[in-house]
Symmetry: C2
Subunit: 710 residues, 2 copies
């Protein structure tokens, strides 16, 4: 691997030559020269080079690099001449042992074959001579913190706000967006933008910034990865130096994936591999430019405390609820207040305020900016609070100005990270105040929480410590649960397709019925007290002979008695087994407090709990609803043919969903819940059939309901 | 279901009474009275009611509602007295047959039991008398378009921008945010905010707005659903009237889900059911307040053309690529330009611009605002372009001001939706111009694309018409594919656990080896030409006897010969079959152009293509990397025990991943790709073992490599 370049003389050159400096006002060559002469502080000399001039703006101009005074020890040559002249200029640089050249001119590999050839020659020259070339096809380099603009950008003279963010971009334009956004507070210290990267590359800049003590955060805007191993080595170095790296990778379409015989490459995809590598090497990947800006800035502000826990603090109940919703969905850990914090808030706030997290001071606080600052101080003093999200939902003129001032004051005092969100599009004085204070107010809650989620190393509770949801065979509560056999006979009577089966009361009867039905059969315990039959050993599949049926009968009785000594066993259900290869789905209905009966469709069996891939509709459903459900689940593809599998019988599944909906609707006064899981779905033409059924009726439902089917 | 209230006299009352009007400056009672007297245009009389005053601001004041002049026909009584006095005031309203009362006072169900009791009494009064009550605990009602502020908000006097958006909120505060955001262009015409909704509810307001010809879009900000069936009936009505509904539902935590014996209810969850119902009834659900605002406004601007296709138009290549990435990820259909459009752009733009969609005019356009408008006109004239996304990445002062003016000008002429994005935080003149023109510039690409995705009815190509990825048994290209048997022996030699097996050359040998290995066995065709053996009928599972092994041998030969007459069959691999109940995962390695060998881990078998649940690491991996991979896949739970299943053997799986990584790394010069799929993973202690293996070497790799294992 090519070692990283030592950029010391490049970042802080003593003497600079400008090849292609121009006397013509508003030409790029003039702007470049003026940026150095008028707007930069270069400790040594700036040499203009252009055979067309003797002097530019009253200063001397030389015809070529070779013609420069022998004693001129140039650190960086800036080259802005026609592409066809670049190679010659670079050769002169190499001949004089100038270590760095910046080629701004366009017309190289981005322009076609001739440009690509030129670029290859530059690369060879670099390799042969040790000359380092930055570019070509780039806007140059800006060392904001030392006021050095090796760029033709007319905006450079206004790049006055500096700071600890180091920025490397490939395309030139978008870096400007970040500089404009970071014009208060911690700004950009160095901005590399090396265009075609013929020699110096993003990894060289990352490596430099990782070692640069004045850079704290590295922001990258990348379009392609030239050399993955150099990139990861540079990221590794940044991680070793504790410099967080934020990256926005543009060009994530899947088009570039090579055709491959294995699945691996096509499943991987270039974008996914990039993302995985960023994750592997600790870089934070973002999806948009505003996120790159916000996350980079947040990273300059975080302290060791920031990840302790999130507090939401606002003066509107709706805003508090909304922010808590979005933070909850993002999985941010909410801080639990110490008793002293609550006591302090209790004193400061009216009785009807919420002194728990999220804090809703109520609009009462608007009359009292002092209380606003005092609340914020109390919250920031709590060790459990690492970050305070402070949404301001409306612009209330001088009232919200005062609140913004309180935020800025407290933010300057505390090591707790305070993140304001200015939610109104009326960007009043309060917004300006927060912006000028360098707090970079977010403009939407979602954006703020997304950035907090990515930039802050939250101390999350260990996975798996949360209590598992109580499920098991809970007491039926208000529901009267029907046994599978009763539920199925009710559904069969209502016209649903149900596997043929009989409840057997003895091993002998089981064997006899199994023979009559035809092997293989399934046998299942019938008991209203057992909701999870499989776990209780109450289900035997694939029984292939009368002898096996007798054995299964005994085994089920034995196992169920061991797991549920209290359960009443009504018999053993013997059913024909459906052919293998069907998909398993779930169709369920439950009673929602607001909407009444709601039907759920999704992938069945173990997928219910792992994938939770379900979709819902209010009962009753139309045929369009049923069809839409099949499309709406995330892995709707499961119903199509994958790997040579035949497509599922969608028509039968739709029909079954409609029948469940009709069944539920016609029993809407009595039905609390029902679940068909799994429902077997065969290939097109084979049908769809519930293999298991659970029905829960209201305790006060007509006790004869399940028996009085037509 | 309670019928929807007829709100005609409420929306446009002739005479209004203000109970609790106050003479005290800056009291809420005074602000309410002043909003009506000074800032509203009420066609009839405004009656002040307060026993403490004879007159307020020079106008008469009555002691009670009962004491109002007999001929005063009041349409709405606004009530702002202590909670304990409200019921009496409402009784007086009912006695005078006043149809509507707005109770603004707090201290009802939100405050505790006594308040809940009072609220129940109000409900009973409404039911008994037909009085309609709006509130309590609310900021009132604002009819912006007719200048009627039945509210105590001091901000009402500035609510001057009106339009076709109808807004209903529950909590009061956040509606203000929307009014502030919609202060130019189409604004809010009616704003309902009925607090505790004791009688009039969100569905009543939706129903009114659905029928109101001056309302075009309905925006809802909801905290709870009181009556799901009334809500859905109102949404149904809005859909029937072609009024789009946008809803932000606050309070989506899962806490409210009742314990249930079936999975359905707990999988469903209140929030998911709410979302499903909104979808079922055609409402557009958004996640944040700025999205509610943006989507509502977009909906006032869309035309029948808007969904035809998206065009991205900008002057920066990086921005064009970024926008295309984000739009692609959101699945927005990109417009394909007509030849005339391209010809027009070709004339207007420099050679190096991109005249395809996304259009990159290049920064050249910055010198020429006329060309900017002309390009935009040409694009908008294309029938395939329904919406133009116009990101402006930087503020360039007067240059971007001119561009904003061009956008505003063209937007006023065309039925193509133009959506500007002002990406810089420097909100200069161009931003202000777009804002004032009512174009509501977005501030981030992601936000803009999320809103476009939700608000616009895109005409998407029918699902499934896209060509399936060419997979099948493609030509091996540059890779030399090893047969499964050779690949497995290579892996076995490298120390990977591989099922015991032998390649049989005859049916007799197969039967013999199967007996030696012990039943059941698996038999698979061995041929370097067949990548997908199952589809070719080249795999038989669960072979339980010597006779079955002979049959399988013949059947495989027959089927493979039919599917791949050209394939060379090297024999039939006979392997011991692993015990049932294992999970299937995939471990693969491929060669990434930038990063070299990359390992992929994920769920295997059919899940590879359906779930695409995979994670990646660069080779070589550390043990931490391997461990992290197991956690990183989305359905990592699959490796834990679900439904009584034992947890998977994670230790063995980690070890296997490391061995694959080592194997790949040690053959990094020769290896192009490898895939172990499925890998069988047993319960803890049972191990993990690849059941199938595919290895592709570089065509120029040492031909003896696979044979020369230690």
């Amino acid at each position: 691997m090519k070692p990283f370049a030592d950029l010391t003389r490049f970042i802080n050159p003593r003497n600079v030559a400008v090849v292609g400096a121009s006397a013509r006002e508003s030409s790029q060559g003039r702007r470049l020269y003026d940026n150095l002469v008028l707007h930069s502080s270069v400790p040594g000399e700036i040499y203009a080079v252009n055979p067309a001039y003797q002097e530019i703006g009253g200063r001397p101009c030389w015809p070529s690099i070779s013609a420069l005074p022998r004693q001129a020890e140039i650190d960086v040559a800036l080259i802005m001449v026609n592409a066809s002249l670049v190679l010659d200029a670079l050769r002169q640089c190499a001949a004089r042992a100038i270590p760095f050249a910046v080629v701004m001119t366009s017309g190289f590999s981005e322009a076609g074959e001739e440009g690509q050839r030129l670029e290859r020659e530059i690369a060879q020259l670099c390799e042969a001579t040790g000359l380092h070339v930055y570019g070509p096809n780039c806007p140059g380099f800006v060392n904001v913190r030392d006021r050095l603009g090796m760029t033709f950008s007319p905006a450079f003279k206004d790049d006055l706000n500096t700071g600890s963010i180091g920025l490397a971009t490939q395309g030139g334009g978008l870096g400007r967006n970040l500089l404009q956004g970071l014009s208060h507070g911690q700004g950009v210290g160095l901005w590399f933008s090396a265009g075609n990267e013929v020699d110096l590359e993003i990894p060289d800049f990352i490596a430099h910034m990782a070692n640069d003590p004045r850079i704290g955060v590295i922001a990258l805007l990348m379009e392609g990865v030239k050399d993955g191993r150099r990139l990861t080595a540079a990221l590794e170095l940044a991680r070793a130096r504790n410099k967080p790296v934020v990256v926005l990778k543009v060009g994530r379409s899947e088009a570039g994936v090579r055709a491959a015989q294995s699945h691996t490459a096509s499943v991987a995809g270039t974008a996914a591999v990039n993302s995985a590598v960023f994750r592997q090497f600790g870089a934070i990947e973002v999806d948009d430019l505003d996120q790159l800006l916000a996350a980079s800035r947040l990273l300059t502000r975080i302290t060791p405390k920031s990840g302790n826990g999130l507090c939401i603090h606002t003066f509107s109940g709706g805003t508090a609820a909304l922010a808590a919703d979005i933070a909850g969905a993002a999985g941010l850990p909410m801080a639990v207040f110490a008793p002293e914090t609550k006591a302090a808030l209790r004193k400061l706030l009216p009785d009807f305020a919420s002194i728990d997290n999220p804090v809703d001071t109520t609009a009462d606080i608007l009359r009292n900016p002092e209380a606003s600052a005092a609340c914020l101080r109390a919250i920031c003093a709590d060790p459990a609070v690492g970050t305070v999200l402070f949404p301001i939902p409306m612009d209330y003129g001088s009232i919200t100005d005062g609140m913004a001032q309180a935020i800025a004051t407290v933010a300057a005092e505390t090591d707790t990270l305070i993140v304001p969100v200015w939610m109104s599009r009326r960007l009043g004085g309060g917004f300006q105040l927060l912006e000028t204070a360098g707090l970079l107010p977010f403009l939407s809650l979602s954006d703020a929480i997304a950035a907090l989620s990515k930039a802050i190393p939250w101390k999350r509770p260990e996975r798996g410590t949360a209590a598992a949801p109580a499920h098991a065979d809970a007491a039926p509560g208000q529901a009267r649960m029907l046994s599978e056999a009763v539920a199925k006979s009710m559904l069969r009577a209502a016209g649903l397709p149900i596997p043929e089966g009989v409840v057997a009361a003895s091993a002998e009867q089981a064997a006899h019925e199994a023979e009559r039905l035809g092997f293989p059969v399934v046998m299942k315990v019938v008991s209203a007290q057992i909701a999870h039959k499989t776990e209780a050993g109450g289900v035997k599949l694939g029984i292939a002979s009368a002898g096996a049926a007798r054995e299964a009968y005994a085994a089920i009785h034995e196992s169920v008695a061991r797991h549920h000594p209290e359960a009443v066993i009504d018999g053993i259900l013997v059913e024909r087994m459906l052919p293998p290869g069907g998909r398993e789905v779930l169709i369920g209905v439950h009673n929602d407090a607001a909407f009444g009966l709601v039907l759920t469709f999704g992938l069945g069996g173990i997928f219910v709990e792992t994938l939770r891939d379900v979709a819902h509709r209010m009962v009753p459903l139309s045929r369009d609803d049923a069809r839409a459900l099949l499309r709406e689940i995330r892995y709707a593809d499961m119903l199509d043919g994958v790997r040579g599998q035949a497509p599922a019988d969608r028509a039968a599944l739709e029909e079954l969903i409609l029948r469940v909906s009709d069944f539920a609707w016609s029993h809407r006064d009595a039905l609390l819940e029902m679940e068909l899981n799994p429902v077997w779905v065969g290939a097109a033409g084979q049908g769809a059939m519930p293999l298991d059924a659970l029905i829960g009726l209201r305790a006060n439902a007509d006790p004869g309901l399940e028996l009085r089917q037509p």
